[in-house]
Amino acid sequence: MIHFHKYTLPNGLRILVHVDESTPIVAINTLYDVGARDETPDKTGFAHLFEHLMFGGSIHIPQFDTPLQEAGGNNNAFTSNDITNYYVTLPVENVETALWLESDRMLNLAFSPESLEVQRKVVIEEFKQRYLNQPYGDVWLELRPMAYKTHPYRWATIGQSIAHIEDATLEDVKAFFAAHYNPANAILSIAGNVDPERIFQQVEHWYADIPAKVKPRRNLPAEQPNKGYELKTLLRNVPQNALYMAWSMPERMHPDYPACDLLSDLLGQGKASRLYEALVKNQALFTSISCYVTGSIDLGLLVISGMLDPQTDFETARAAVMEILANVRQTAASPKELQKVKNQFESNYVFSQLGVLNKAMNAAFFELLGDAELANTLTAHYAAVEAEDIHRLAGQIFQDENLSELRIQSTHV
């Protein structure tokens, strides 16, 4: 059991505290309920660019990193299609430094034009380093707009193109902050050897005077499943052909989500999974293959991706995958196979909760999904999945009209 103390300030800030007396380190995680899905189609990549600017100085403190380094702390952040998440770890003696820094940048940023100019360049280099100058790096830039037609999941967090980053203005930045960065849109989660009442008083001291604002209402165009089969082939200077197949699947809090997650594990997690064993080990049609779910808060994707053996053509590779999927649609998982994927889930989950940073980060995300208590009940949801659920969902998900298929054709093969 992971116990959380919960508080809410009058300005709407939600606070979670988990006491762990075994560690000298405290983790302070701040989740903002804003991600790439909250961008407009003409200004994509903005939530992520903004995350960079959050380190460029706040209203009273010229630099975020320097005082934290002096406190012996580390920090970082990430942006996804759903959330923007900032985290700090430091020796517990200096916890107040983190609260001082995080609260000031929730209050207001310095909005320096220099910071925007530099971070714009840094993000463009990040765009090149991670997406353009890597073999297969642009796959998700291509696959998203195939799998999503109306929902903003159709662009990647880095943005649809470098041009959108180049065009961002300081006014855009200010408007984004005003709309999304406020106490009611944030969850502050703290884990470490702290006294819950004392830490709550400290949080109150630093956060209570941040003005309340209305939590922005999200009104996203719903994505319809069954959008029709789509196939795209791209010629790229890469060593091997690669196949990516993405099917629409239920959203994160749908009752069927755990069964879909287990379905993907049954197909692709580990060397004894169905796809790996059949297509890499036995038939040697692929040199690697994997299956996973994106886990997004709105309509998700179940993805199978693999690198083709040089002797295999796309049609053969695709047919072989389809045969495995036909099999999982026709026959329910055996009790042993079902137990295996449940054991894998439980184990992965236990390992994902090690350390105060993971506990604080997961708690904030679970709270966003509905309740931090999910940390204690999630495994039971997975344990309750039956073979029939997996069977039913395989039939529901693996329909051609649900499928987006991207082929990366190597110029060398």
Partner: protein, 425 residues
């Protein structure tokens, strides 16, 4: 209303505890260390062998031996091994460095007894079946071909060539090198380098005492003493001399840059000085390289420097990927920062910040049994005593600006560095 213009008072983090290094002996002469702790029922068993890439008699031999170790044993097929490990949601991980290779079992404690038979078979009785080996080679060639498209991967190989030609630490990989390997070579390498004669065991997490006894019992049922000999890795003919090489990759959007120079090992009395100087140069987000080249110029997503301490050598490494058009400008700025470290005294505020940052991070690196296990491994591999990190932590606050300038003048001299660039410039 809080006064937001005044920073909260800071405390220096707590002292670093001494780590007693007292192994117990299992089997006849196998050292087994345990680190008990943690809030969850999880366990990690690391078995650490002298089987790093240093011992390669052919390129990729150590890697390939380790990569095939789970593909079949005297009592289990590769498929049975994968099924058992998957069924219990556990993992047998492998890891290799220049000096050592590790085989690790990671599991929830409640499943340990169900896994020990398979795990000890993987440790002691792999058979390296032909079919799996052929598939491994095919998969590895594919993976390597992808890596060889990346500027940073090629740059790593290029710097290794410049710095370590003629030294067993030289990293040599090529797709064709796989064709020279046979399963007999793997078996020979295994019997000499994956021998328990030169290995140790480290168990961390919860229930380590019970796990140690269970592991010892499972091992002793299969183990028999066998002679083994490590490959001679002396580098008598190797001498470092700095050099520069560039390799053009058509249409690269970014260039990868790496600079390397000899450094001090952890045992050297001046190591804490160089450690601090490197931190200032490029060791953390507030470092000079990061602030100048990323945060001021925006040339890169990231740049850093590190001291890479191997068991028989140590070198400084500066590495980054930058927009192709700012390759030369970046090199200019790196040289400028190297020069500045040698000539201008580090100011008191920066020095104080780095000292506190180092100590805070040191506390974090001992947080929990798995992190502490990593520290302990480092101490064992580098033959450091139990008080090493606490002495290191005590030394840091007393280091002066003059000492930093002096150690920089010796180690950050640009003439000592080799330079590798891959991309466009």
């Amino acid at each position: 209303m809080p006064n937001r213009t005044i920073a909260p008072l800071l405390a220096f983090p707590k002292a670093i505890p001494e780590l007693p290094i007292l192994p117990e002996t299992i089997l006849e002469n196998l050292s087994c260390y345990t680190l008990e702790g943690g809030s969850e029922d999880v366990l990690k068993i690391d078995v650490v062998f002298k089987a790093g890439t240093l011992y390669d008699s052919y390129p990729l031999l150590a890697n390939t031996t380790l990569g095939n170790i789970k593909e079949g044993t005297a009592n289990f097929t590769g498929r049975e091994i994968a099924e058992t490990v998957d069924f219990f949601g556990s993992q047998i991980q492998t890891d290799i460095s220049y000096d050592r290779a590790e085989i690790t079992l990671v599991t929830q404690g409640k499943h340990l007894v169900s896994l020990l038979d398979v795990f000890t078979d993987v440790l002691l009785l792999p058979v390296f079946p032909e079919k799996e080996f052929a598939q491994y080679v095919k998969r590895s060639k594919s993976q390597l071909s992808v890596n060889l498209e990346k500027v940073e991967f090629n740059c790593r190989l290029l710097l290794s060539e410049l710095m370590f030609s003629g030294h067993p630490y030289r990293e040599q990989v090529s797709v064709s090198a796989y064709d020279a390997l046979t399963t007999d070579m793997l078996r020979a390498f295994h019997s000499n380098h994956f021998s328990l004669n030169d290995a140790y065991v480290l168990i961390s997490g919860r229930g380590t005492a019970t796990a140690k006894d269970a592991l010892a019992a499972a091992l002793s049922a299969k183990w028999k003493a066998q002679a083994s000999s490590l490959r001679d890795t002396s580098a008598a003919n190797w001498q470092y001399s700095p050099s520069e090489k560039r390799s053009r990759k058509a249409d690269a959007l970014q260039s990868a840059i790496r600079m390397g120079a000899p450094a001090l090992s952890r045992n050297h009395p001046d190591y804490p000085l160089l450690y601090l100087a490197n931190m200032a140069l490029g060791g953390y987000f507030g470092s000079r390289l990061m602030q100048n080249i990323r945060e001021d110029k925006g040339y890169t997503y990231g740049i850093g420097s590190s001291i890479n301490v191997l068991e028989d050598a140590a070198y400084l490494l500066i590495s980054t990927q930058v927009g192709a058009e700012v390759t030369e400008a970046t090199l200019h700025e790196i040289r400028f920062e190297l020069q500045r470290m040698q000539t201008a005294a580090i100011d008191a505020a920066e020095l104080q910040r780095i000292k506190r940052y180092i100590l805070g991070n040191l506390v974090e690196s001992f947080d929990g049994p798995f992190a502490t296990a990593d520290r302990l491994k480092l101490m064992i591999n580098h033959r450091l005593d139990g008080g090493y990190f606490s002495r290191f932590a005590q030394r840091i606050p007393h280091i002066t600006a003059e000492e930093i300038t002096a150690v920089s003048a010796e180690f950050f001299n640009e003439k000592r560095f080799s330079l590798a660039v891959v991309g466009e410039w």
